[in-house]
Amino acid sequence: MKKLCILIGLLACIPAVFAKQIVVCQTCEVSTVKEAIAMAEDGDEVRVQKGWYRENSIVIDKSISLIGEEGAVIDGEQAAGILIFETDHFTIKGLKIINVGVSYTVDHAAIKVVRAKDFTIEDCVLENVFFGILIEKSARGRIRRNNISGQGTTEAGSGNGVHIWHSTGMEVSANELFHMRDGIYFEFVDDSEVFHNLSYQNLRYGLHFMFSNRDIYHHNEFRNNGSGVAVMFSKYISMYENKFMNNWGAASYGLLLKEIYDAEIYRNVFSKNTVAIKGEGCTRIQYTHNTFLRNGWAIKIAGACYTNIFEKNDFMHNYLDMSYYRKVNDNRFNNNYWSEYSGYDLDKDGLGDVPYRPVKLFSYLVNKTPESLVLLRSLFVDILNFSEKVSPVFTPDNLMDKNPLMQRIND
């Protein structure tokens, strides 16, 4: 990694000796970005000064730095995409880019990057975009501190905030993404890191992984999205210290896991989601030190899930802690804190002396007939749950936490 850095440094520095600066302003000799790009050579810096530039489809195939000064706005006037980079080693910084054209056939983006390596996109504001940043077949890009928003009202009529396809070694950090389809979308993206982003009020997902392996996301916050995060058909994903909040809605999830293997999920907070984690076909997943607070369901497991291990999580005030459609298989629950646990701890070792069964008869019935949710919190349901607790008939009797904690641990 160190060597790589030095190499990048050298590559950046050597041409800089000969580099020139091209200034763009509306009263200057060079009054459009396009002209400036045409004049520039590898290693040059293009400075866009304050002004309103009505341009689109600007193709950049030179390794330059494109710097926006305060008040510099490029307006695509809803015609098409705006900047298209087809080069390595470029930087774009501080520009405001607005009004990307919506198309149902072409993925127009504010910044599109094709087959690029070692580039930086930072401190840009992208407003009213179709796609925000669209990256294809690239490597080692850094996307930092951008503010990306759209105005889509339907999933088909809106694009993703940061959309990356077939790339490796990407870093997406400290961006703010809202009113898009997906805040961040990864498809075939490996060995990448997503952190400190805030993604909210997006139509579909705050963050979406498809066919992506060995990625990490942490310290992100996902609020009020259609669903928080979806991780699908992916392996070795590490998810930690994220917040999944207020993903309320008929089919909303905090975190949706589908056909994924070997993931770890720890120290996350799931608060007020219809379903905090929904898992379908998940294998070898470790869930540790997560907090599930006031969700509709904390965990909903459907389909073939094997070797899912839940340890040292706090399950607090969820309407239904757990729901299982099929067999429990070799999934394990141990040492979790359950706010509804009513057992005792006579030997004072901090562990309850009787096991806790997180699946209630009512959640079993709701699985069969969702409409019975109408009876939530009625006396009849309490009685039903109590009798099932005393002598389990319908709920899987091997689904239990044998050593429930008496105190919450992830405060």
């Binding site: 309320w248 019935l365 969702p370 949710l373 109408v374 939530l376 919190r377 009625s378 349901v381």
Partner: protein
């Protein structure tokens, strides 16, 4: 009628049971707030209690008061007052004193714990309104039973049965029919079935004000559409009014033929 109401109310306000009831709610309010110190969380726990207990207490108080004041009612019947005014006055007196115990008993601790600065004030207000409705509904229902049943023991039995029916058995049958017919769209059925039971209706009305309402959207669009709007809220309240009004109508009708 107002005079009878006034004296029934005075009588009940001085009764030991009113104080026990008031004290119970007072204690409950303080304990709940002391335990989690979070007004909005306490509201949810309170809902569970109000939904079950208010109807039960209303039912028992209603029958008890009717049978206990039977002789006094006869004395009043010899006075130049319409009999419907006497019974209705007593009915309002009982319902009102129960409601007062509820509102004050819960209101005092919540106000002391800073309800007015909390976002839960609307939820709490709705909780009290629903509690008051349940009082009026169940006292009316139990008065109907008492008026139709001479035998005190039988009257008590029927009243408790009525409570059990609406609080538990109804939901059981509801659940069974949902499970039996789960191949059919059940939205409208669930909605109707909820309307026909004041306890269910009150429960849903409160649930919908909490975050959990989104969860109910899960059960289907009709429900979400109906309860998600102010139209749903208003019509639910209207149905609660009907639940008071219809038993009162029957009470009047029964009184026209009743021999004391």
């Amino acid at each position: 009628m107002l005079k009878i109401l006034k004296y029934s109310f005075y009588d009940l306000m001085r009764s030991r049971w009113s104080y026990v009831y008031f004290g119970f709610y007072l204690l409950l309010g303080f304990v709940l707030l002391f335990l989690n110190n979070d007004v909005s969380k306490a509201v949810i726990t309170l809902m569970n209690i109000i939904i079950v207990l208010t109807p039960l207490i209303g039912t028992i108080f209603g029958v008890m008061y009717y049978y206990n004041s039977k002789e006094f009612t006869e004395l009043l019947l010899a006075q130049p007052i319409q009999r419907s005014h006497i019974i209705r006055g007593q009915y309002v007196g009982v319902s009102l004193s129960l409601t007062l115990s509820l509102v004050l008993g819960l209101g005092i601790p919540f106000v002391l714990y800073g309800l007015f600065m909390s976002a839960a004030i609307f939820d709490f207000g709705l909780l009290l309104v629903v509690g008051a409705f349940l009082n009026f509904i169940f006292v009316a229902l139990s008065y109907n039973i008492a008026l139709s049943t001479e035998n005190k023991i039988k009257g008590f039995g029927y009243a408790i049965l009525m409570w059990l029916m609406l609080a538990v058995i109804y939901d059981g049958l509801f659940m069974i029919s949902l499970l039996l017919f789960n191949e059919y769209p059940l939205d409208t059925f669930s909605l109707a079935a909820t309307m026909f039971n004041p306890i269910d209706l009150s429960r849903i009305l409160i649930l919908l004000q909490l975050d959990i309402s989104a969860l109910l959207g899960y059960t289907g669009a009709v429900f979400k559409k109906f309860f998600g709007t102010s139209f749903g809220m208003l019509s639910s309240l209207l149905v609660l009014v009907l639940w008071v009004w219809l038993p009162l109508l029957r009470m009047n009708w029964k009184l026209k033929k009743k021999d004391f």
